[in-house]
Structures are given as C-alpha cells and as structure tokens.
Symmetry: C2
Subunit: 203 residues, 2 copies
Amino acid sequence: MRRESDTRTKLLQTALQLIWESSYGSVSVDDICNRAGVNKGSFYYAFKSKAELAVAAFEHHWNEKRPLYDEIFSSQVPPLTRLENYCDYAVRDQLAKYEKVGKLCGCPFSSIGSELSTQDEQIRRKAQELGERTMKYLSTAIRDAIAEGSIDARDPAELAREVFCYAKGLIAEAKIENNPDILKCLKKGVFRLAAARSMAALS
Amino acid sequence: MRRESDTRTKLLQTALQLIWESSYGSVSVDDICNRAGVNKGSFYYAFKSKAELAVAAFEHHWNEKRPLYDEIFSSQVPPLTRLENYCDYAVRDQLAKYEKVGKLCGCPFSSIGSELSTQDEQIRRKAQELGERTMKYLSTAIRDAIAEGSIDARDPAELAREVFCYAKGLIAEAKIENNPDILKCLKKGVFRLAAARSMAALS
DNA sequence: GTTGCGCTTAACCAACCAGTCAACTAAGCT
DNA sequence: AGCTTAGTTGACTGGTTGGTTAAGCGCAAC
C-alpha cells in the first residue's frame, strides 16, 4: 500500500452523508464519486457494489460513534442518567444535522433500513445488527436500573426493544413532519415507557 | 368519458402494492405500467408524474381503509377496546401481507415517508397528513379513556403521538428484522405507554 | 534502473430511467 | 352520418444508471 488509501474513507463518509440527507435510491454512485472527488474506477476498486458501500458506511459510522456510546452507557453512570443522556444525545444529533442541512434527516440506520430491508438482504442484516447493538446498551442500562430499584420491569430486553422502537419511531415522525419540536417528547416518552420511579418528573 | 376509466384505479393499486413490497426508488414507472397492464402514455395521461401517482396512491389507500378505521374507533366502542382493536388490526394487516409476499413489508405510509420526506415535499406533506389523521383517532380514544378514568394523562394529543410513534417504530423494526414475532409486543407497549389502569394486564 | 504492484484514471457500455408525443380509437352528442 | 373529445397506444428521447476495462502512474524492493 503506497498510501493507506483515504479514498475508501472519503467514500464511506460521503456516502453516509448523501444517503442520510436524501435516500439510498436517490443517490447515485456518480453523485458519491463526484462529491468525494474520487473516480468511478477507484470506487469499484474499493467496493464491490453500491450496496456493499452502504453496508460498509453503516459499519464505519457505527464505529465512529462507538466511543461516545460507550461513554454514555458506561457503568460508571447511574442507569437512568444513561437513558437520559442517550435521549439528549439523539436529540442534539438530530438538531445539529437539522441546522447544517436545513432538513430533519432522521436516523440514517433506520431510514435506510426502512427503505431497503425488503430489497437487499445484505443491508437488512446490517441494519438489524446495528439495532441489536443499540438495544444491548439499553438492555444493560435497564437491567441495572431494575437492580437499583429505579425501574420496575420483568423483561429488560423487551423493554429495551420498546424504548428503542419508540425512539426510532419518534425520530422518523420528526423527519416526516420535518419538525424539530417533536423531538422534545423523546425523553418524556422513554421515561413513561420505562415507568421510572424517579427522574420521570424531571424530564 | 367512454369508460369510467379503471386505468387510474389499477395504477393506484398496483403502485401502492409494488412500492409497499419494495420501495419508491426501486419501482419504475415501467414496472407499475407493466404490472397494471397499462401503457406508459395512459400513465402520463392519468398522472402528471411518478411522485403525483405516489401521493394519489397514498390517499386512495387511506380512503379504502377509512371505513374500517371509523369502525375501530367508533364512539360505540369502549376507548381502551378501540386501542386494542387498532393494535390487533395493525398486526393482522402485517401478518396477512407477510404471508402473501413472504416478507414483512411494514407500514407503507411510514416507509415511503421515511424514504422520501427529505426529497419530495409533496410526498412528505401527504405522509404527514395521513399520520395526523391517525393521531386524531388515537387522540379521541385517549380523551374518552381519560374521561371514563381508565387512563391517566394530561395531554391526550401528546400521548396519542407517543403511541403512534411507538407503533410505527415497532412495525418498522419488525420490517428491518423481517420477524413477525416482534409485532407481538405492540399491544403491550401501547398499553404500557398509556399506563392504562385496567386491561393492561390482559394484553 | 527496472520490475512488481497498489492504486488511479477516464473512456466506455448496455440497460434503464422519467417523461413526451403524434397518431389512433371509440363512445357520446347533434 | 359526422363531429367532438376523452382516453389509448407504443415508439421515441435524452439523460442517467450501476458497473467494466485497459492503460497508466508512482512508490518500494531488488
């Protein structure tokens, strides 16, 4: 390797950005190449197909965010605070993108997953996998909350899925209404679902 | 008018079906025409554009379902039963499609809304409108439930949005995981959110 | 200094895309 | 019968699509 090829990275980032801001179907390989300043040939040297690029971009984006998630969901943080920080981060992330792009773009994993999971098994599987990773963080936090008595629930994994789906659904709705205000009730709904004993009033 | 033109209707139904089963971006006007047995020219005689067809197909599908929604959310039905029947219907609808197509297709309004609301303002607006109509049903049911004392909440519209988003998110997740079992906790989550005093245990 | 190789370049392809159009058909009206 | 007009037909356009390819570049090892 003569250079450790930033081509690949540039393509991953550009792809995620463009697809996040519009959709997989409406972004072409040419669009991605042009924006990334990379030639078509290099694209297909780095990736087998457009779909493979999408999968890799998913994974790449997750890996970039992972340290932050690890911090948010650290065992050092009280479990309800983890949930709260997670909600706050999700909202902040959406608002940042909203101000940069002028549109509410939603969660890229969820949008692309929704768009393509009936068509491309590869992408479906990756979207599922990333969802499961997030639910793992949530499960652990909820389990810890139950242990300390601040949440009363039988099945932490199930509650985690409910919380996760609610969050995804709300963010998707905010995207559809293109209205950041909707994000305001993310935390409220999460804590209502979790039926948290304390801190629910606070949010 | 020489025949009351079933062309338009055939296009509306075919479009919704194809787009529901894959996505807006992956279904071409030719696909829709071929499947509907209609010529390209007739398509563009009936609709100005592909996007306009999609919007009309949304509206058409809603109108077809409306009598059923009116029945489910009838004031003659106890409010919590309305919510329950709504959940049951949503699940039944998904399972029916699943068995027909072999894939979990999700909610068409939500999928297409997610896919296109950053690109096509026309479609975004229609997706938003249809969501608001559904939330209207939910708001009324929740308001009635509060009135009879079976739900305790301050803001019925807000709770309706939370329920709606949760349902949409769960169905989207079921699509992404392509797993009908996930739908099982729809009712449970809805009633947990609503913190219903009775009937919550039952589901 | 030349050979080997990771990577880039730009031209190229067939299939496909949304959308157009002039010619045509047949039902309704007088 | 003859005219009008709503609706149909399918060939066509020009641009775009995802993907290919042969030639070339420049660094590293020998």
